[in-house]
Amino acid sequence: MVITSEQVPQSASESTSTDPGAPKRRKPRQRNRPRNKRNRVEDKEIETVQHSLQMETSIPTVKKLSGQSTHESALIAATDKTREQIMAEREAKKQAKHNKKNQSKTVPTPPTTKIITEVEQTTITTRLTTTTTTTNDRQEQLATTVAAAVPTKTTSVTSTTTLELGENTREKIKAEREAKKAAKQAVKSAKVSGGNVDAAAQKLANLQIQTAGATEAAESEKKKPALSKAERRAIQEAQRAAKAQGKAKKDTTKTLTAGAPGSQAISPPTSTIGSKEIKRDNDSPSKIEGSPVKSVPSKTERDHNVKLFNHLLCTSKDASQFINDPLVHPSMARLGEQYAKRIVVGSNARCIAFLNALRQVVQDFETPAKKEFGRSLDVTVKHHVDHLHKCRPLAVSVSNAYKQFKNQLTQLPVDKPETELKDLLSHFIDTYIENQIGKAAQAISGFLQEKITNGDVLLTFGCSSLIHYICEEAKRRQVAFRVIVVDSRPFCEGQEMLRRLSADGIPCTYVLINAISYVMPEATKVLLGAHALLANGYVMARTGTAQVALVANAHNVPVLVCCETHKFSERFQTDAIVYNELGDPNELVRSDKCCLLNWQTKSRMTPLNLNYDITPPELVSAVVTEVAILPCTSVPVILRIKPEIGY
């Protein structure tokens, strides 16, 4: 009952969800959006899962041994590690001091090699244990989400990611602890075989490099020279240390056993990749769950294809085919999902999202052994792009961005170290976003500002970020103008546009596209966004744009298409049918009492949901780009000089 009672504030807050934010805000928002849609039942589920985990973590250590389900045991393993690591750490310190004390006596003889190998093993084992534990409880958690009625992917992501954080830190800590143990052993052996200390110190050092998080401990170590007091304590603690260490050993073994099944499941991976891999094949099932169960069985889909459009692949919504691909970076996987679900729409948004994801990929990229960075990265990125294309045909803006990125790759200097190259690339990405989208928008609105004057009535179609920006700008300049927002089913993006404009206090009029002849006489200018500008001067944009342009022409209203040059495309196209994108036909069904419902049963009847149409240049008065205000026909010119633009 408590829960239900909670629903109200929650639902309230959900209805008032956060609204579009700057790109930095993007990721949380994307996670947030489908949440609104999600039914509350399974919302609760997730939380309970979460909560159960947390509860168990906080169970006192006494109960731990009585672990029944693998899930709990795994958790317990995890938890008591969290406890132990503290101790272990401390031991390690003590050991370190110990060594320092013994330093004086030790005789330098280098059997380093053996020790090092030993260290390696230990670390690897730790990896395995940690990973396995994570897998275990994750799978558990997934199981529950599966039980929950179709959770949308993003929720499971949120939950998993939140867990991840926890996990990661836990891993780190464990790793750290193991490292300490290793160090200790090393030192012991060193002592036995009179191994020299610099070696040990050395090892510790590179251990610390491997295991992030151990650093501050290391700091403390380094900071502590052999203080007399410390030494004395160290001595008196020697035997307690021994005891503790024994305990530590014990539960490592335990964890190892616990982790065993999981560990052979995965091929023993190299450190970073390994963890990532696991993360992936943990996410995948959840995502498969998450992908909405499209009511369209593929066969009915087939014989309901419109003949004219057989050549167009109707983007199949079957998530699995593009999710469980081990080589796809999670960020890309997510992006793909968002493309497919139309969570990220609009060529600018798609482009930016893509670039951000790309940055991630670059950051996490590791050159395989004796491969050349640029090449191998190119290969991976290519793979990712293909993946995205599978999810939804690439936007021109994206493919352009990708092209630019590629030739950036080719121009990479060879001598520089990898990290530097990565920085180079991410810097390139930033500049690209900045110039091609940010600056371009400013330039374009700059051009348009003198075109928007008092008493103007702008007519716009659908929702274009650019045009919204322009209107904002004009409003800021206290121009007295109003906007007619023309919208069309099924996308109804105009409603969003309307929301933003009236939020800026711009007086608006809102009509559907077939009422356009009613409002066109008032309009003084028509501003249109574009998806792409084709090389033959045709404008590719959200379907309906051409109609608006047509009617505008019939009323002698000038039509301005606003389009950044990064959306220009080399493609030639003369009608909307050769190349287009088919949306989900079910979107045309209005409500459950709409007679179009279950059209699949009707023979030979198909709702057709085209995404784009092509506006012939004669209907467009001018294209406004950041370069200049141009006639459509001079697109090729821009394309020719394109490389010089921006950067």
């Binding site: 007086p507 809102y510 077939n514 109609q547 047509l550 049918i577 045309l588 009847m605 198909t606 057709l608």
Partner: protein, 352 residues
């Protein structure tokens, strides 16, 4: 309005307002019934009185439902009938033939003789007029009933097999027409624009889709232009036909016609005779009629309340965008509409 409306009239008006009677066909029918009732009623002695009553009532209806032009069209028909019948009977009595259909024309202007230009005085009682009118009304009624059918029969003449036809919204005559076409011709593809916000196109699609041999594609209004490049013929219905051959059709028709023009696709308009109205498009505002804002965007979506939201019902389609009218009497070019009108109505009745 000085004249008191008849009870039937008021009820009909209310019925139409509430939406119990809809569709120009049924409205016409009901109106016709009312006038029939008037004629049968003993309330008038001579043609003049009858005409006055008819005028009054139809004026009332016009004032109440300015959008439903069919009512006044029917009234005009009745008036014309009365005149003709009267003249006929008149002529029978004193052998004087007046070219009844020759309205106010240059010819008449010239040939006017003193006696003919003083208009016939309808006030003198005329026995047998009522009966004559009634059986003439019968003809009109039958014409009305068969009109849809008569339009359908012409389907074969205009549609060949494996054509791609685009239509908009849901018009009764179009539906029958297409059904007929589907029966006669194979491999048709019919593209139906849904015609938001009412989306009556969906109904049409579902109605047509029962047939196996035809492909039905339902598209949102936005993709009309995109699809037009593949369409061979546009077939639409209309609410009424104006004097210059323009249309007052469902909202969106203008875009369709324009797109058709752009791809030079013939636009065929199905308009039974009773939809021809001798009006011209004057002030835009009175011409149109705006529906409920709620249909377009939900009231609860708060920004909507800041903005002005229109959902107009009609579009004006200028005659040059129309290729052909198909009425129950056959096909006509838009430029010929004026002629039909002069045949249909008496010039003195144009303003009721």
């Amino acid at each position: 309005m000085r004249e008191q409306p008849l009870k039937e009239v008021t009820q009909l008006i209310h019925a139409i307002k509430v939406g119990m009677v809809e569709g120009s066909y049924s409205i016409t029918n009901k109106t016709l019934d009312i006038f029939k009732y008037i004629i049968m009623s003993k309330s008038w002695q001579n043609a003049d009185e009858l005409m006055r009553i008819v005028r009054a009532q139809s004026r009332i209806m016009q004032a109440a439902l300015p959008q439903e032009t069919v009512t006044s069209n029917i009234a005009r028909r009745i008036l014309k009938l009365t005149r003709e019948e009267f003249d006929l009977l008149h002529a029978k009595i004193q052998h004087f033939a007046d070219d009844s259909q020759a309205s106010l024309s240059l010819h008449k202007l010239v040939t006017q003789t003193s006696e003919s230009n003083v208009s016939v005085d309808y006030s003198k009682p005329q026995q047998g007029l009522r009966e004559a009118l009634l059986d003439h009304l019968q003809e009109v009624e039958t014409e009305l009933e068969t009109s849809s059918e008569n339009i359908c029969v012409q389907a074969e003449e205009h549609i060949h097999s494996s054509e791609i036809i685009l239509t908009l919204g849901h018009s009764r005559s179009v539906e029958n027409f297409l059904k007929r076409a589907i029966k006669k011709r194979q491999y048709l593809t019919i593209i139906v624009a849904e015609c938001a916000p009412s989306c009556r196109g969906h109904n049409l699609a579902t109605k047509l889709a029962n047939d196996k041999t035809v492909d039905i594609i339902v598209i949102p209004d936005a993709s009309i232009f995109a699809m037009m490049s593949r369409v061979n013929k546009v077939i639409i219905g209309t609410h009424s036909v104006l004097a210059n051959g323009g249309l007052r059709a469902a909202c969106g028709a203008y875009t369709v016609a324009l797109a058709a023009k752009h791809y030079s696709v013939p636009v065929i308009v199905l308009a039974p005779m009773y939809k021809l109205s001798p009006l011209h498009l004057c002030e835009q505002d009175a011409f149109n009629m705006v529906g409920c804002a709620e249909d377009v965007i939900p009231y609860d979506s708060l920004p909507a309340r800041e903005a002005k939201v229109y959902s107009p019902m009609f579009d004006y389609v200028p005659p040059e965008l129309v290729t052909l009218f198909i009425s129950n009497t056959g096909g006509h070019a838009p430029s010929y509409v004026y002629r039909l009108l002069t045949e249909l109505y008496h010039p003195e009745d144009l303003e009721i």
